[in-house]
């Protein structure tokens, strides 16, 4: 039996003026391109959960040519993001029309399973652990079910865990290889459409499992730069330090997502630098605490916002750069936010900045709230869930003001002169540390 696992993750921007900016300001979509060029860890995990007697073909598709011949498989598994889900559905429809059974999975499918079911023979909700092995057994027995629910807890326990098939990446030119050490994040921000939506609580791999995955990935690449595909790696600081000590001997360079609390632990910061951490991405969201009220149920980000400037300085002083993420269009934002955020970014010394527009991804608490409030611009707008297109009426400004202000800020932040200034600022910080 031969199964095709197809990852669809191209970069998408719908608003024409924004698409044009993306061409003239390459840094604007840089992070999106990095994400799109990462291997699909979800499908590599699916491959890892597949018995050895089944042949797996792993494919990545940024843009589907609707006229191209379909590669022949006995079964196809497709995973995609909201922005590209309609393209994934179209590909699934073509395969089914050709008589090839299709399984759909991933975050969007987990949050919108009924919609996805109309384009698939079967949908997999949540993680593949606990679902994929049963699905294959049923498929072999000719009794494939329309829906399988994977585990939402205990996903990394020995009984369910299987190491992702990094060997399928051999010979491919990746700039970064993804490894996941955890799923979920207890902060539970209402807008977040990451792995916390497919877990019932924070799930963490043992240090041994995480390190063994990095070692396996090291076998397939010459110059690995690792990206930890976590929502928030250092929730558990004790685990974090044990993990960092364990990867120091591997001599890798790596990136991850975390929160500003890492700056409060000197030992952790030293270990980050020593273990080859080159950048941490932190969701700062907005410069002012008042705008962060209600972003997460525990108001954690509001309570920690007064530590942003000092936290960034402390992290970057170790030579670990910070990629600061900000969201435009929060409830507290008025049209003054654009100049205010520009001034704040200038003060931070951040090497990299990621600015996105608040996006109500289907199935998130933010989406449910906006739907109740009647502020969504369209009923179905998944192809515009790009993080750059506006899909709702903001509270403190008009849609046009949010769009225009976003474009203005992109031009101010992502031009070559500003990036050069931030690079020089980072180099001076690094020099102080040397």
């Amino acid at each position: 039996m031969r199964i095709g696992l197809i990852a669809m993750s191209g970069v998408r921007v719908r608003t024409p003026e924004l698409a044009e900016l993306g061409v003239t300001l390459p840094q604007f979509v840089n992070r999106g391109k990095v994400i799109a060029s990462l291997p699909s860890l979800g499908l590599l995990t699916v491959a890892g959960l597949t018995p050895d007697d089944i042949d797996i073909a792993y494919r990545e598709v940024a843009d589907v040519d609707p006229k191209a011949d379909l590669e022949v498989f006995d079964l196809v598994g497709i995973s995609s993001y909201s922005a590209q889900i309609d393209e994934a559905y179209a590909l699934a429809d073509r395969y089914r029309a050709a008589g090839v059974p299709v399984v759909l999975g991933g975050l969007h499918v987990s949050l919108m399973p009924d919609e996805a079911a109309s384009h698939a023979d079967s949908v997999v909700l949540y993680g593949a652990e606990g679902a994929w092995p049963r699905l294959l057994q049923d498929f072999r027995g000719g009794r494939l079910q329309p829906r399988y629910e994977g585990l939402r807890a205990g996903v990394f326990e020995d009984a369910h865990y299987s190491r992702p098939r990094f060997d399928l990446l051999r010979g491919r030119p990746y700039n970064r290889i993804t490894v996941q050490t955890s799923r979920g994040c207890p902060l539970n921000c209402g807008f977040c459409a990451a792995s916390l939506r497919i877990t019932s609580s924070f799930q963490q791999k043992s240090v041994e499992k995480a390190v063994s995955e990095i070692r396996a990935a090291l076998d397939v690449t010459d110059h690995p730069f690792f990206e930890l595909a976590d929502d928030n790696t250092f929730i558990n600081k004790r685990w974090g330090k044990e993990f960092l000590r364990a990867i120091i001997p591997l001599g890798i360079n790596w990136f991850t997502e975390t929160d500003i609390s890492v700056a409060e632990d000197e030992e952790l910061l030293d270990l980050l630098a020593e273990s080859g951490c080159r950048q941490v991405l932190i969701g700062l969201e907005s410069p002012d605490g008042a705008d962060l009220a209600g972003v997460d149920p525990g108001d954690w980000k509001r309570r920690h916002s007064d530590r942003y400037l000092e936290g960034i300085r402390r992290i970057q002083s170790r030579g670990v750069s910070v990629n600061g993420c900000f969201i435009l269009g929060l409830d507290g934002h008025t049209k003054e936010i654009f100049t205010h955020l520009k001034e704040f970014i200038d003060r931070t010394g951040l090497l990299e900045v990621q600015i996105t527009v608040l996006t109500p991804f289907p199935g998130t608490p933010l989406y449910e709230r906006m739907r109740r409030e009647g502020v969504l611009l369209q009923e179905r707008y998944w192809d515009r869930c790009t993080l750059f297109d506006v899909n709702y009426k903001p509270k403190g400004m008009t849609v046009e003001e949010l769009e225009q202000g976003t474009r203005w800020l992109f031009s101010e932040i992502y031009n070559e002169r500003e990036y050069t200034r931030r690079k020089r600022c980072y180099m001076e910080i690094v020099k102080k540390r040397l």
Binding site: N175, D222, H223, P224, F225, G251, N253, R278, Q279, G319, S321, L351, T420, R421, K423, R424, Y426, M427, E428, V430, K431, L434
Partner: protein
């Protein structure tokens, strides 16, 4: 500083940064490709060179230095100016 000494110092710095043997690196080899230096490591390298050799790379050219030769040329030019 003579060019040979500068080259040795650069190789040592690159070795520290990349954890790889840089003794066989040729002057025109692409550092990104040969040592797997990402853009962040590149900035750290430039910062290290500036500090260790007391030179200053022009800000507008920070993205251009991809070989040992390019780095050595800028170091030599900076030394001449001073």
């Amino acid at each position: 500083m003579n060019r040979r000494k500068a080259e040795d110092g650069l190789r040592a710095l690159l070795g520290d940064l990349s954890g790889k043997d840089t003794s066989r690196l040729r002057l025109d080899d692409d550092l990104v490709r040969e040592l797997g230096l990402d853009s962040l490591a590149g900035l750290r390298l430039l910062a290290g060179v500036e500090k260790r050799f007391d030179v200053c790379f022009p800000d507008e050219r920070l993205g251009e230095f991809r070989t040992l030769k390019q780095l050595l040329d800028v170091m030599a030019a900076t030394e001449e100016k001073s």
